[in-house]
């Protein structure tokens, strides 16, 4: 069976152990996690996790079923029609061409967000595929450090 990329949202009770239950499930059953983000859902006792994973259709189906089986899981959404975004922070030496960097970031919904004595930090927020392109494009400005946030998604 063909391996596919899937974005899965999991709505869980925001309680102790819940992240460990989810990540432990992936580790224990040998499922792949490409990215995982988690944060509380405002004004509820719930958290929203977005997980990007890869596997064949049977594995993906098992992942959603096993996630649902966890007692604190309220909802599992295997996304098809979604808005997907990711953020990335990149640190550049101050000697690089800052106007170029600024222009590049702007093309990816970002900009320079911090300037220090020896470096600048730039930010971009876009679709995961475009973030990948952005990172490739930053290579020529000798990035010192790159931090990606992982994907968040919302069904349309």
């Amino acid at each position: 069976m063909e391996t596919v990329r899937r974005v899965i949202s999991v709505v869980v009770l925001n309680e102790a152990q819940v992240l460990a239950r989810v990540s432990g499930l992936f580790a224990g059953r040998g499922y792949n996690i490409e990215t995982l983000t988690v944060a509380p859902i405002p004004e509820t006792d719930l958290s929203h996790m977005t997980i990007v994973t890869r596997g064949n259709q049977r594995v993906i189906e098992q992942i959603t079923k096993q996630l649902h089986k966890l007692i604190p899981t309220l909802k599992v959404i295997e996304h098809s029609e979604m808005v997907e975004k990711e953020m990335v922070l990149v640190k550049f030496p101050i000697e690089e061409k800052l106007s170029d960097i600024q222009t590049l970031c702007a093309a990816y919904n970002g900009g320079i967000v911090n300037v220090g004595e020896n470096m600048v930090i730039a930010m971009a927020a876009d679709e995961p595929m475009r973030i990948k392109h952005f990172i490739t494009a930053t290579k020529r400005y000798n990035p010192i450090e790159i931090v990606r946030s992982g994907v968040v998604a919302m069904e349309r």
Binding site: Q17, R58, T73
Partner: protein
């Protein structure tokens, strides 16, 4: 009412109707044991090892159908219990295990007897709790029992820090649980059930594939009725032995790695598998691509994750076996023509005549299969049979005439050696009026042999029949077949004196080398009312056959019993 956390645990156990608790005290759980000392509502049975406490609670649960309860202390007490939790988890046995934990203030400091119990048990419990606040304790206890017994049953661990068991707080045991994230689906989808019924009516070679879920959902009667009205043949997994009843003409036998020829051929040739509470374990299916190759599959299971996990399913039905099968019968009753499957049953009958489940008996040496048959003849329906893991387990599953559910108790999924004896203790506690016989081997029995003391102290007359081949038999069999007879560490020639060992602990022991001696020993044990070892010297090199080599197709069985 203001009471301590320890008293809350006692009150919850009583409120849940629990009458027997198995356990072992220690530092972090002492507050609870102090309250156990002060009450008379339930009996506490002190095992001699925490693993045995959990297995005993498990055996109790399987024999009675109720939730089993075990109690252990923190650290090593808990880690000893882990094998018990994993065993119960794999076989979907409802347990509530309460473990002590170091005080909240010490958690995370590598305190004495501290171990991350919820972290360790996460993958081998249905759910687990670390109690952070005494205000949560009544709710957690209520949820633990509810989660353990509902849906697909399983073990639940409640880890309680010592300061919480000592703290005083208001206690009201909740009447209901409020778990919006946990709602097992019992009913089954009507449309799917109807479609499945249509598929059965159209099938030419349908086969009932019965698993442990039938036992767990107490669905034996309706499943037998479904078979009866339709005259469809049935195969049982290891966990479903007893569902159809040994004398039922529709039962082909057990399928899988050590299944009989007719059962495995039926699965290989069927055009419609009706899977009820079975989960397509690798020991059942053999090579997946060859498994039920010509069949559509109806899969009824309470756990959606079991459906289409390994095999593509045409008619998935999430629900309780009993409810779904009742509905199926409703759709079929007026329309099904039992004679429709006559030809199919005839084919299977011929398969069974071609290669019946059998063995070559001997007058020189006791054959292990003979022992099983003999026990069946002597006590049959009156006994509860437990087993350990290995050759003896397979022979028991093959040759004992099980005729009701909950009569056969074994660690099928995890395959835990050392399970049988403590599980038999639990079963004996649940069924004081029945004979409880643990069929075991000379390897397995030593893995919880200390429980002789528990059984003797509590006057629990569990009979352990040790099929003694001086080998770790099943591994030896694989070494014979697949490792050119290199018997790496499987020769158990060095042995204890079994008779004296049993006697030293307050039990009775018999060494048996002939059939007559076995009969005499079994009679004496059945009469004796004491925990017993019957050490039976059996043919050393007897193999469990038929056998489907691991990863092979079900229809490729090693069948021949060669004279050893």
């Amino acid at each position: 009412m203001k009471i301590s956390g320890a008293q809350m645990i006692i009150e919850a156990i009583i409120a849940e109707g629990v009458t027997k608790v198995f356990g072992y005290p220690g530092g972090a759980i002492m507050n609870v044991y102090d309250e156990i000392y002060k009450q008379n509502d339930f009996e506490h049975i002190l095992t001699r090892h925490e693993q045995a406490a959990v297995h005993a609670a498990d055996g109790y649960a399987r024999a009675s159908g109720d939730v089993g309860v075990a109690m252990v202390t923190s650290g090593p007490g808990f880690t000893n219990a882990v094998t018990g939790l994993a065993t119960a988890y794999t076989d979907s046995v409802p347990l509530v295990v309460i473990s002590g934990q170091v005080p909240l203030s010490l958690i995370g400091t590598d305190g004495f007897q501290e171990v991350d119990a919820v972290g360790i048990s996460r993958a081998c419990t249905k759910h687990n709790y670390l109690v952070h606040d005494i205000a949560d304790l009544p709710r957690i206890l209520k949820e633990a029992f509810y989660i353990a017994r509902s849906g697909r049953p399983g073990p639940v661990l409640v880890d309680v820090p010592k300061d919480i068991t000592g703290e005083i707080a208001e206690f009201v045991y909740p009447a209901d649980v409020h778990l919006p994230t946990y709602k097992p689906n019992y009913k089954g989808n009507e449309r799917q059930i109807k479609k499945a019924a249509e598929a059965i009516l159209k099938a030419k070679k349908p086969l009932l594939y019965l698993g442990g879920g039938v036992v767990l959902s107490n669905a034996t009667e309706v499943v037998r009725r479904l078979a009866e009205i339709s005259q469809m043949p049935a195969v049982e997994t290891l966990m479903a032995r007893g569902v159809m009843g040994a004398d039922n003409p529709l039962l082909l036998g057990m399928l899988g790695m050590h299944g009989n020829y007719a059962s495995n051929m039926a699965m290989s040739e069927t055009d419609l598998v009706i899977s009820l509470g079975a989960r397509f374990d690798d020991r059942v299916t053999g090579k997946l691509s060859e498994f039920a190759k010509y069949a559509d599959v109806i899969h009824v299971d309470i756990d959606p994750a079991n459906i289409a996990k390994l095999v593509d399913v045409d008619y998935p039905i999430v629900g309780d076996i009993k409810i779904v099968v009742e509905k199926l019968i409703g759709h079929l009753e007026a329309r099904i023509k039992p004679e429709r499957y006559h030809v199919w049953r005839d084919i299977l009958k011929r398969y069974d005549e071609l290669h019946p489940l059998t063995y070559h008996d001997s007058d020189e040496v006791i054959k292990p299969q003979w022992v099983i048959e003999r026990i069946g003849e002597k006590v049959g329906a009156d006994a509860v049979i437990t087993s350990d893991v290995g050759q003896h387990q397979m022979w028991a599953a093959q040759f004992y005439p099980f005729d009701r559910p909950r009569q056969w108790i074994n660690s099928g999924g995890l395959g835990t050696m050392g399970y049988g004896f403590p599980a038999a203790i639990g079963a004996q506690v649940a069924c004081p009026d029945k004979h409880v016989i643990n069929i075991t081997g000379d390897g397995s029995i030593l893995m919880n042999v200390q429980e002789l003391v528990t059984a003797a102290e509590n006057k629990l007359p569990v009979i352990n029949v040790i099929l003694n081949n001086h080998f770790l038999g099943m591994v030896r069999q694989w070494q014979t077949f697949f490792y050119d007879k290199r018997y790496a560490e499987t020769d158990l020639s060095y042995q204890p004196n079994w008779k004296l060992l049993a006697e030293a602990c307050g039990g009775a022991g018999y060494d048996v080398t002939t059939k007559a001696e076995f009969d005499a020993a079994l009679d004496a044990a059945l009469e004796g009312g004491k925990v017993t070892f019957i050490n039976v010297a059996v043919d050393r090199l007897e193999n469990v056959l038929p056998m489907v080599p691991a990863g092979g197709a079900l229809y490729n069985m090693l069948l021949e019993h060669k004279e050893s």
